[in-house]
Amino acid sequence: MSNIVPIILSTLATGLPLFLIASGLTLIFSVMRVLNFAHGALFMIGAFLVSTLLSGRAVAVSVFVGAVLVTGLAVAAMSVVTERVVFRRLYGSPEVVGLLASFALLLILSGVVQLVWGSNPRTQAQVQGLGGVVRIFGNETATYNLVLIIVAAVIGLALAAGLRWTRAGAMVKATAEDRVMAEALGINVGLVALGVFAVGGLLAGIAGALLAPTVSIDPSLALTFIIQSFGAIIIGGLGSIEGAVVGALLIGLVDAVLVVVAPGLLDYGVYIAIGGVMLVRPYGIFGATARRTVQA
């Protein structure tokens, strides 16, 4: 038990925040067939925005929550703009075109961030009252990590419930299943696309804001988590929300185990996880059925 609990805690603390980023990525891909590299830039902007709103200072939980929500909404608005200005023109094009456009967008947004905030790294102080550790079965874990775990779990459940049990969720799934048929049935596909990008941006902004107190906030942040997030959705199966959860947790688990048994292989944790899953499930754990639909 004394060895397993730290591994479980480390898995959750690494994996679930990763899911926050990966969930937006996989949602957008499932509906719009866009592997959105610019998602990393939106995540970075979320971190910059929250640190600007709070001037980097330690604030009460309520103030921080307000700042995170404002940030999420602002980034959602930016994501909608990218859909209208860039991606809407590319629907129907080969996926590689969307991929390249999203990479170009990543470069542009990174350049804009440097122009606005400069290249100097900045930090966001930890939220008041969340800076210590809590003991779980005799093992210490950072209080803020526990908060991230809970928030990510709640967001994941809300997303899954929204897709499964709401009318909007049904429209998203229908569009993901067959765009033309959905349109023929009267679904406003353009509006669905906007909504999906808005939710994806909201998730990226919230993830950036929530992780801001634990990272160095600088322009390199755009790619710091995006590669692992892609890893998570590849492992889970492109387009699957459950897959993103499982993929992110698997990456967290591999990291937590490697750090104990083979620290020299830590660099390759993501690739070991991807390789291992690809050998038995080439389309990812939930990929066989999720390839053309949103799983919720």
Binding site: P6, A101, T123, A125, Y144
Partner: protein
């Protein structure tokens, strides 16, 4: 192996290369991509200035190359400001070579060796043959041979790669101002052995690339050579782009027991990695479980970013603005602040570029010429006294004798730099402590 190429965004160059090699003709996306490229180019900025003769009329032009755009543009800007202060001081004191004024011609290497080499070719080809600056060793390695082949001289102010110096250096007319990793490790070990003679155990957390491993190994070996009976207890190396260290911090936390005495944490990271590690380790009070925390170069920006919450950390580099109070340093700091009030203080990179321009100024005056061969010969002989003492180039290796500053800082929310000096030692190139303070 400069300390700075660790921060390089590895995705940029290969990704752009992939972008170029993919072939497709989407009618609707072509304008978009063209616009994107144009916007990126605009965002990245462009090189400044135009080159002309190195010595025209009453003006001597020095070619300054650095990363003025991209993720390290701020550092490039800091370097340029240091160089500007030197030029202003030299000109105010009467100029060089009988009253000629110095003038900088600035080129942006975009943190890319090929662009740096092209910038050097442009500068030297148009007559500006005295080149200095460069942030990254890979760029120095690209620039130096180009300048050499065109008959110019280069002073690399920040690059510390071994092939650049020594009798068999890549370009004979190349001079290196930065301290090497070897020198900084030797100086660090000297001071740590003196401060903590009973150190027995070291945990290492570093970047998983050649310099991260080399610095960790070299510094620990130097500590052993300086009489410490230390062994590496745990070592974790992480990817350069990583900022999520929960697994490593948890593992370190669980491996520690008993008092902190005799235990050290060595960080072979820098920049975002160091900042993120210290932030994520803070809830566990991890650094307090070690007698001391040591890193090796480039820590100040991380310490500043922590906004006053930085733990006590030893670092080794060349400069810290508040360490010495002599008139040279005061003048340097004052003029730097006047030039850029929002940017607070000069840093290592500003200081290095400042010294690079001063070295050229003195060499030109000594040579009574801007002829590259004469200036190179003079550079091997002259000595310039800067804020932290005299600096000269070794005539055989072209390495500088710039002293290494080993200093311990801690967060100070009330200080403009958000850091305060706890202790410092200035270590000579022969590894002797020449000045100490707190």
């Amino acid at each position: 192996m400069t300390r700075l190429n660790r921060r390089r965004p590895e995705w940029s160059t290969p990704a752009r290369r992939r972008l170029r090699t993919l072939s497709f003709r989407p009618r609707r996306t072509l304008p978009l991509l063209i616009a994107a490229v144009a916007l990126v180019a605009a965002a990245c900025g462009s090189s400044g200035g135009s080159a002309s003769g190195a010595s025209t009329g009453g003006v001597v032009k020095l070619g300054f190359i650095s990363s003025m755009s991209g993720p390290l543009a701020q550092i490039g800007d800091d370097m340029l400001d240091g160089a500007k202060v030197a030029v202003a001081q030299v000109n105010a004191a009467g100029g060089v070579d009988g009253g000629k004024k110095l003038q900088l011609v600035v080129k942006d290497d975009q943190l890319t060796p090929a662009t740096g080499a092209a910038a050097a070719r442009t500068l030297v080809g148009s007559g500006t043959k005295l080149i200095f600056g460069m942030l990254d060793s890979s760029i120095c390695l690209a620039v130096a041979p180009v300048v050499q082949s065109l008959g110019g001289v280069t002073i690399g102010t920040t690059c510390s790669s071994d092939p650049l110096v020594g009798p068999k250096r890549a370009a004979q007319n190349y001079f290196s101002l930065a301290i090497s990793n070897t020198a900084s490790c030797a100086a660090t070990a000297k001071v740590i052995a003196q401060e903590y003679p009973k150190l027995t155990s070291i945990d290492v957390f570093g970047y998983d690339y050649i310099t991260g491993h080399e610095i960790a190994t070299e510094c620990v070996n130097d500590m052993k050579a300086d009489g410490l009976h230390v062994t590496v207890h745990k070592s974790y190396f992480v990817p350069l782009t990583s900022e999520s260290f929960t697994a490593q911090i948890t593992a370190l936390q669980h491996s520690l027991s008993g008092p902190a005495t005799g235990r050290a944490l060595f960080l072979a990271t820098y920049g975002a990695g160091t900042t993120a590690f210290l932030k994520q380790a803070a809830p566990y009070h991890l650094t307090q479980q070690y007698q001391t925390v040591i890193t090796n170069g480039g820590y100040v920006s991380s310490g500043e970013a922590l906004n006053g919450s930085a733990p006590a950390v030893w670092d080794a580099y060349e400069y810290f603005p508040t360490v010495v109070t002599n008139s040279r340093n005061s003048a340097f700091v004052k003029q730097y602040e006047a030039l850029k009030p929002a940017d607070k203080f000069p840093n290592d990179w500003s200081y290095e570029a400042y010294m690079g321009a001063l070295m050229y100024a003195k060499a030109i005056t000594a040579a009574k010429s801007t002829d590259p061969a004469a200036v190179a010969a003079a550079l091997a002989k002259i000595s310039v006294t800067g804020p932290l003492g005299a600096v000269r180039f070794n005539p055989a290796t072209h390495e500088s004798t710039i002293p290494t500053l080993v200093f311990q800082t801690a967060g100070d929310a009330g200080s403009p730099m958000k850091l305060k000096i706890l202790k410092y030692d200035l270590v000579s190139p022969t590894n002797q402590i020449i000045n100490s303070g707190s």
